[in-house]
Amino acid sequence: MKIRAINRKLKKQYGNAVNASYEDGCIVLRGNLDKWDDVVAAGMLCAEPYSKCHVVNDIVFTGAEAQKMRMPSLKDKALEGDKPDVLIIGGGISGCSIARELSRFKLDILLLEKEADLALGASGRNDGEVHPGIDLSRGSLKHKYIRRANRMYDAVCAELDIPFKRVGQYACFGKMSWLPVVWLFVQKRKYIDGIDDAKLVLGSKIRKTEPNLNSDFAFAISNPSSGCVSPYNLVIAYAENAVANGARVSLNTAVTGMEVKNGRINAVMTNRGTVYPKIVINCAGVFSDEVARMANDRFFSIHPRRGTNSILDKKAGKRMGMIASVVGASIPGKTRTKGGGILHTVHDNLLIGPDAVETYERENTATSPDSIERVFAKQKVTMPTLSEKDIITYFTGVRAPTYEEDFIIEWGRKTENIIHVAGIQSPGLTTAPAVAEDVAQMAASALKAEKNESFNPVRHAPPHLAAMSDSERAELIKQNPDYGVIVCRCEEVSRGEILDALNSPICVPTVDGIKKRLRPGMGRCQGGFCSPLVTKIIAEYLGVPLSEVKKSSEQSPIVFESVKGGGENE
């Protein structure tokens, strides 16, 4: 699209408020708009799907106060003068998987995460689906990686010792009359796009496999290669394996600026001191365009997109064992998503969602009732017995798409020692293992790094007693009686397992840190019974009063001072 044509369209929509210009191989938008939806729409109007000529949307949104990035309260000099070979910014799935793949080489790797734990952005706030790629055509980076990465999951999850289930997926259709068109679509996907597991199944087969799905479904596209993982457990496992192989992870560490000279990043400033890396890898999710800007290499824009998922009680999990969604019934209201679905998680809950709502707030993960209503309205078509009454919790994540809706995985365009891994949205969790291999190779080749001969790809998860046989469990309790003291009744988590997590390679001694690793607080009582007990174990482990224990960040104490009687009673 020529810039003149773009400007004609913009003028028609927004008068003189907005204009576009072609600069350094990008389409740069400038102007003022007071509705965020208009800001996004203007960006989309200029964008060509999968194009390398990205939209940089500099339209000023005047409708609300600009949001500042959440910063850790910590300030020290722990990293001052550090000179890593590779500095990874962002502890999500991209950053952590790349750190692990890079640890196959003899490199000094430092990963920074501004939050108190890993996977607190979109990587930890998604449905955990390992996608088959049925929605992807040739030509995009998403498509380039999807099949290769999907096939890697069994091996990666086995190495990292985390549960992974190929539960399979049905995309269901209500009308038989659509069959010929969908058949053609599946043939194209299968033989042209290489989504080789795709096939059609009829209603009778759907009903036999999943009797609780809508009995009116005529047929479905089946993708047996679809699966699910716990996304934050995958991120943490990747990071733990990276650390075991020599990488370093610094939590509560935010990048505040960069010193760029002669097209190279010299220094990276953080709240914990200035770091002098040879190469920077930008895995900063919703802030990846901000990091690019600091690196003097901004050639794309992220427009944050929220998605909300609900989690249902494990009792509801018995009603459906795979991933299912209805095609054709759209979520009411504005949306841009594959439509969400119902997913039987690796922990046997049901997960419903997500929706997709554009937002100017990159970090606002607050939920709202309308998201849940919308998703349930749609998914009740998929499974009529679905009930809001079974909801035990819900959460919102913010995706980080570019206007071209594809990944950016490339060296900086103006700054030479940065690799951008940006625009990573769905299916970014799925593609991570393959993307990480390639990005690690890019960085290692540039640094002419040697192989790390002592690299060990295997991570051993700490024992998970509830999943063991009686005899294994009895044996472990004999070795460590703390494994016999159950702290979380809903998920059957023992004191011994909590102490293991506190002693794990990346210790996150917070109530949420323990919750993510072991699930106390994720069951049906949502921590009602166990949160005081977990708080106490953490306080004892750290040797601090209960008031020093945090939920997550430094500013999130669980309790305050002692009662008037003084002292802790137990």
Binding site: R70, S368, R473, L546, F560, E568
Partner: protein, 417 residues
């Protein structure tokens, strides 16, 4: 010993009463408690008002428990603390209860089970409160645990949602500890807690109660900073125009209790959709024979006196059921038999037409089959031939033979004269 007549799961007021009663009835009783100390939620209920109808006194929760603990100490009940039931299996003799504790994993065989597993609190998410996920959102019971058991304050300035009794009690408790309780908000047009608690916990401390109000949202990325409060219409829908933001550091929710019956469901106990507890008969036996339910696991009670009473009934019933289950008499046979079925007689069943099947071990001619009860001959029959391949059938009215618990019931075959 890992063999019991009655196994009580849960050492709160219901379980304590059940264990004591079952022991009084002569049963061998095991009481399993997952915490370090007995007493259940009463451990943290340091306010008074317990036991008014049972003891005619206003006791604090721990005092009420102590009365039962004193009684328990005189009994021969086997008590296991810090012990968690991971599952229940059905067996021929009754049940196998699998537990874990510091001592390892144990399989306990028991004739009956009393489920005294109490209830859990409905959470903020279950009443659809939206917004962020900050520290500072507590159920009233969790806030009470922190305050009364761990001795630390969960808040300095809070809003309480729900006028259930624990919420009211916590409003007073936190006020006494110097926290500011901005108000108790109740979605219903009438209070949910006991009238005496409205007076003693709110009015006496000038804590406002707002009826037909609810919390719709929480704010704060780290620690809770504020909540959004709305009035609701007759159909409990928040009225948008009444939305106000109230600054506080905690939201304490007291919005209902749900009986804990996950163990019950795992062994097929049928639940009532209204009570969320098991469907029970007048002896508090559930739909699974030999499993009894009591206390707040059965239905949510307002007074602990009722909880104890239902525990006693369940304990009594379980002990009687176990005793009945003991009324099985083994039927002994002599060496002349290859076998005889059935091998046991249940004295509680209708035994007026019991069909026995047997085969002789060897080929015999002219044989006399004799049945004795406690040495007395009660029946005999002559068979011209007995051969192992030919099964014999014999129908007897066993009820008229005065078989008793522990009787020696014996079949023999001898040469007929």
């Amino acid at each position: 010993m890992n063999n019991f007549d009655v196994t009580v799961i849960g050492g709160g007021p219901a379980g304590l009463a059940a264990a004591i009663k079952a022991c009084d009835e002569g049963a061998r009783v095991l009481l399993i408690e997952r915490e370090e100390r007995l007493g259940g939620m009463l451990k943290q209920c340091i306010h008074d008002g317990f036991g008014l109808s049972r003891f005619g006194e206003r006791l604090a929760g721990p005092e009420y428990v102590e009365r039962f603990m004193d009684k328990l100490s005189e009994k021969t009940v086997d008590v296991r603390l810090l012990t968690f039931v991971t599952r229940i299996e059905k067996t021929a003799e009754g049940f196998c209860v699998v537990t874990v504790s510091r001592d390892g994993l144990e399989r306990i065989s028991t004739k009956t089970i009393v489920l005294a597993t109490g209830c859990r609190e409905r959470t903020a998410k279950q009443v659809f409160i939206h917004g962020t996920r900050p520290a500072g959102v507590f159920t009233a019971g969790t806030a009470q645990h922190f305050t009364n058991r761990l001795g630390v304050m969960p808040t300095k300035k809070c809003v309480i949602l729900g006028s259930g009794d624990i919420g009211l009690i916590m409003a007073r408790r936190l006020t006494l500890e110097g926290a500011k309780v901005l108000g108790v908000y109740e979605i219903n047009p009438t209070p949910s807690g006991l009238t005496r608690n409205i007076h003693q916990c709110l009015h006496d401390y000038d804590i406002p109660l707002y009826l037909s109000h609810t919390v719709t949202r929480v704010f704060g990325a780290d620690r809770l900073e504020a909540v959004e409060i709305c009035e609701v219409d007759e159909s409990y829908k928040p009225i948008e125009s009444t939305k106000v933001r109230v600054d506080c550091d905690a939201l304490i929710v007291s919005v209902g209790l749900i009986p804990e019956n996950e163990l019950a469901e795992s062994v097929g106990v049928e639940l009532d959709s209204h009570t969320k507890g098991p469907v029970c008969d007048c002896q508090l036996m559930t739909s699974v024979d030999g499993i009894f339910s009591c206390g707040n696991a059965l239905h949510v009670n307002d007074l602990v006196d009722f909880v104890s009473a239902s525990g006693e009934l369940a304990g009594l019933s379980a002990a009687h059921y176990a005793k009945k289950a003991q009324c099985k008499v083994n039927i002994k046979i002599g060496n002349e038999f290859l076998y005889l079925v059935p091998q046991q007689l249940d004295l509680n069943a209708d035994n007026s037409r019991v069909t026995f099947y047997f085969r002789s071990k060897a080929v015999r001619e002219k044989s006399l089959l004799r049945l004795t009860v406690d040495g007395q001959e009660v029946f005999k029959r002559v068979y011209p031939f007995l051969r192992p391949p030919e099964m014999q059938q014999l129908v007897l009215n066993m009820d008229k033979f005065a078989v008793q618990n522990g009787s020696d019931v014996r079949f023999s075959i001898e040469v007929a004269e």
